[in-house]
Symmetry: C2
Subunit: 149 residues, 2 copies
DNA sequence: TTATATTAATTGTATATACATACTTTTGTA
DNA sequence: TACAAAAGTATGTATATACAATTAATATAA
């Protein structure tokens, strides 16, 4: 009922089509929850995503192509996003010793601190998701993984 | 396992955080499936979305603000998207008689035919989703609706 | 070793998007 | 009626994205 009401579309050709629309719509809904968290720091969702990946690597560096591989959304301009983050002093870049084509990208202390602040506020977003129990969240995860095969 | 493998991130702070990441990732995965369907027609996801809404209204027109309300992703430039579609002869625009502020946007025959072609190919995408049974797709729909409250 | 192919990253260009603002028409109210 | 407020679109600007082309370094193979 909820989705139909939200987008005012009553019928779908199949349950699978409805699921596709539902995932796209829910993704947009999630984005709306996150955007106002990132904005005070001048970060886009993609930039936040890159920072998270870099924190996962910390204290090791990541190459631009590693970032491209792991980004959640489509990519293409990881280079430019990294440059934006560098201008904010959230990451640093240095030539890779072993392969001078590569660039070592590292999250800075300021980057780590910024992530911590944002993540503290993200907790509230998760609380807003408590309409689902942990078991139900697990079920969503299981089904989405199965969907992608 | 699947998500962890896909983005090479082993631990999440909670099942709800993992679910959030999973939805965002799955949305990107879906986008990848769709993009190559739209590209031959020079359509973006948003433009396709608008065409679908207009087909839902057909033979009635839709105003720009109605389109903005119902679009799945964030919007802002429904005006510009409509203009792009008009340039491709997929929609037509005319001044609304009753309220001269509004614009009546209508899908054209060419627009309807284009949607039909795309939707025929979308069937294959849904077949690719047959890793989930109908019951499981229903369960995803139920849980996502519950998530958004 | 030298030529060729592949890989990593950057840049150019066109389009898409977010956000604020402006413009026109309608609505509401004194 | 006249005037302010609201509604429906459109536009300006900055940023983000998709895709192709370019540059530089490394790997491969004759």
């Amino acid at each position: 009922m909820e989705l139909e009401e939200a987008i005012k579309q009553k019928k779908f050709r199949s349950e699978h089509e409805k699921m596709m629309v539902n995932i796209i719509y829910t993704n947009g809904w999630l984005g709306g929850q996150q955007v106002h968290l990132f904005k005070p720091y001048g970060l886009s969702q993609q930039q936040y995503n890159i920072l998270r990946i870099l924190r996962g690597q910390h204290p090791d560096p990541a190459s631009v192509s590693l970032l491209m591989d792991r980004m959640l959304d489509k990519m293409s301009n990881a280079s430019r996003l990294v440059e934006k983050l560098r201008q904010k002093d959230l990451v640093s870049r240095q030539e890779c010793k072993h392969d001078r084509r590569q660039v070592d990208v590292l999250i800075t202390e300021k980057g780590l601190a910024t992530l911590e602040e944002i993540d503290a506020q993200l907790e509230q977003v998760f609380e807003g998701m408590s309409t689902l129990t942990i078991e139900e969240a697990q079920e969503v995860n299981r089904l989405l993984d199965k969907l992608r095969g």
